[in-house]
Each structure stands twice: as C-alpha cells, then as structure tokens.
Amino acid sequence: MSLIQCNNITKRYGSTLALDDVSLSLEAGAPIALIGPNGAGKTTLFSLLCGFLRATSGDVKIMGYAPSDTKLHGRLAALPQDANLDPRFTVGHQLVLLARLQGLSSSAANKEARRVLDKVGLPEVIATKPEALSHGMRKRVMLAQALMGSPELILLDEPTAGLDPPNVKVMRSLIAEAASNATFIISSHNLDELEKVCQSVVHLEKGKLKGIVDIAQSRSTDHNGYYTVVMADTSIEAHIIIASLKSLASVSNVTFNTPNRFVVEYDAKQAGLDTGLDIGIIKLLSDKGWTYRQLVNGRTLEDQLYFGSD
C-alpha cells in the first residue's frame, strides 16, 4: 500500500484550474520535496492531502484512507502554510488541547507539549502567547505541533519561508532528526534547502505533474556525469567559457545558467571511473586566468529541474 496515492485529481477554484489531472504514488521513506513556481498547485495539493480542501474530481488516499478519515488522526501531521495558533491563548494551552484531541490524557498532553517545545528549542515559550513570538519562533512552534505524538507522515508547507539563515538551519536539523521516524513531504521554493534534506522531488507546474525525480539517481546516471563550475569573474563572455569547457575530453555538453554557473555534462562511460575531468577543468581555468568560486561534483536541483538536458 502506498503512503500517498492520488488518482487523476483535479481542483478548480471557480474558473481557475489549480490542479489538473494529477496522478502520483509516493512511498514511505526518505523526505520528499514538492516543488514548483508560485501558482503551481503545491499548497492546493497539500491542502487536499490534509483534507482541508475537496478535489473537484479524482481520488486521494493516504495510507489507504480518504484524507478526512478519522483513522488518520494522529498518523498524519502537517505544518500548513500561513496557519497560526490562536493569538489569545498561550502556546502551552493550545498544544495541550491539540495533544488531548490526539487522545492523550491531561497529564500526558502536558508532558507532550513540553517535549515538542523542547524538541524545537523553545521550552521557554510554553506560557507565552503566539503574538509575542517572532516569525521564526512561531514557525518552530507550528513545527512542534506537527511533531506531537508519533505521526507517520508529516507534511510541511513552506516551512522555511520568511526564516533567517540560523532558523532555517534549526528547521533543517529538526526535520533531519525526525525523518527517521516519519516520512516528510516538504514544499518549498528553496531548492538548495530541499536538496540538502530530500531524496526525491515531486515537480508541479501550472497545476500539472511534470515528474517525480530521484535526486541521487539523477545526479549521476549510468551514462552522464556532471560538474558545476561557479565563476567568480562574470566579465568573461559565457560562450567563450562554454567553448573552452567543451574542448575538454569526454565533455558532451556545457550549459550556462545565469549569472555565473556552468554545468559540464560528460560521458561517464567513455571517460571511465577515473576521469580526471575535475583536474582538467581547474587546469583549464587556471591556464586561462579565469577565477572560479566553486567546482561542484554534480549539479544543483535547480539545474536538474529547470535547465537539465535529460
């Protein structure tokens, strides 16, 4: 049985088509990213999975149940985008209510509220009202409510939106830590962040499913390998750099992604395991006197999804 099974789901808001005949099947395991530009239908898909919305047509099953089925209570958790706790009550008061709704006794609910606040590093806010918290702290409190009990599936909609880098790092480590006990599905615009956390990617665009990509597999296939060169000096014409990189042995293609990134595709089979291409690239750049900032073995998620040749 799949963790999530969507069959031909369509969602319309009046005349606007938010999701168009999306079918997908996701299995439990490593974190899954849900990506796409604004208006791609990510939040709509999330809301359908959580039972906040009803599909215009099609069928959604989570762990074999319809999204609003009471059997999913406690097994499915989520951090909905822009959802907030009631500003009038303390964080602790509300977390205890949520824990009790999950079936915990009063004393167990109190302990659970403290446990999850400890987990997100905010034990001191238990008696604080949400309106007194910063944006980052509120996000972490919302993550805390998603970690209550022992959910098997946790959906996070834009968990790092509006967070500063330290808070993003905290959020990332919290997800990594909890990922051993639950499957995370994370929607975000921050591809670098998703790349660090997720193993596979569900790619939506204009309400349609563009594909499901396995990040690890697509980085290096049987046939092609990739290096990404990030240049420090942007004054050199891109086509000159492309031509030079293409002249290297076993390089099959070079693509330029503004402002300063060159993705070098090479034939791994032809080059063999010990290609030395990375050394060749560095030598070329050095000989030409071109300053580079980074040489990455592989290509970024952004390059794979939006600029990839395969």
Partner: protein, 268 residues
Amino acid sequence: MRSVALIAWYELHHLFLTKRGLLSLSAFGLVWFLILRYVIYSAPQVLSITQMGSSITGFLNSSIINNLVTWQVPEMAMFWVVMLYLLPIFCVILTADQTASDRARGTLRVLHLRTSRDAIYFGRFIGQLLVLFFLIIIALASTLALVMMRDASQLFPALHLSVIVLVNLMLVLLPYTALMAWVSSMARSARQATTYAVIIWIVCSILTGWLSRQFPELWILDMVLPGSQVSSLLTLSGWNTLSLALIPIVQTAILLFFGRMIMQRSDW
C-alpha cells in the same frame, strides 16, 4: 464524543482566559448590575396590583401582565421578562465567532488534523451554550440573593422558579446560537458572521411576513424565526412553558443542519 466535549470545555475556558471573553463578561456584568439595581430590585412594586397601569402596561399586553402578577416571586417574574428580551441580543454578539476567525487564521486546519469537522462544529456550539448557561446562572444567583435580602422565606419558591426559567431560557437561546453557528461557518470574522445573521434575519422576516399574508393558512410561517414563541411564552407560567419547547428545538435542528452542511463542504 470525546473531542466534542473537549472543544466545548475549552470554549468555556476561553470566557475567562481571553480579553474578548473577559470583556464580554464585564459588559454582561455591568448591564446586569444596572438591570438588577433598577429593574429587578423594584419588581415587587412594579408588579404589585396597586401599581398596575403604570409604565409596564405600555410595554406588555394585559394577558402577559395578568400572568406575571401570578408569579409567587416578583423578582423572578421580572427576571424572566428582561432575560427573554435581553439574552438573545447578547447571545448573537457573544456567539458570533464560533469558527469564523479560526478559519481566517488557519487554526481550524490545525484542529482538523486531529478531529473531525463535526466535532469542531458541534463542540463549539455546545461550548457557547455552556458559556450562556454560566452567564444565566450568575444572573440567577444575583437575583436569588436579592430575593433573600427582601424576604428569605421566598427562597424555595424562587429556586423552583429559577430552574423553570433556566431551562426555558436555554431553550430560547438554542436557535440563536445555532443561527450564529451556521453564519460563523460561512464567515471569516465575528463581524462578518453578525452581518450575515442580520441579512438572513431581515430576508426571512420579509419573506415570512409576505408569505403569511398571501397564505394565512400557513400558520407555521409564524414559527420560522428564532424567538417567535417568546410573546406566547410570557402568557404561560410554571412548567406549562415547556409546551412551546418544540419550536426552538426544531428551529435549532434545522439551523444546525444548514451550518453542518456548509462546514462539511467548505474549503479551509
């Protein structure tokens, strides 16, 4: 059922833990103090036979007054009249935000991950009734204290009347609370919910008024709006008042059905 009870219980908590709840409580307390001091306190004089024909006759018709003067405890009779007209207004204001602002804020989504839409809807509805019950108990207790101060021998008849009044007032408030549960399930703020309630009320009043003129035989039209039985209630006394209980109960069931339908079908 556990979720419904939990949500309802937390609603009662909210009356004491939130600024809005405490403000409502203070406003009710102040208004009630004035009524207690200037209306209930003078009930024995106002409802005495010798004073009949004074100001109260301008407000209530003779059959109502004739009924009220038969009440053994005049304070309770006055309490009954005042509450029948005051509480519905207070109820509409107090219960307007059953789910509206939680919907706008996304808090309903967080709750829905742990409980059903029905539990949220009925839990909030029952919670509001608990709040109203609590307010009526406070008002009744203060009235009983007043009765005790005047004539301690009337405590037991007053207690008996209190139970009758309490049951009847809760029945009167049922459809008002259900109406606000319905409009709250469509709204995104308390103000919007109140506006919807006013619109529905006016449209229904005009419609039922017109229909009852066109079809006088359709007597049921006179029972469509919440509170339609209030003037008849005032002509009854004791447990006879429960003879009209079916009207608010049916109204409540219908209004809750409409609200539940919206709650089940709406996107959050």
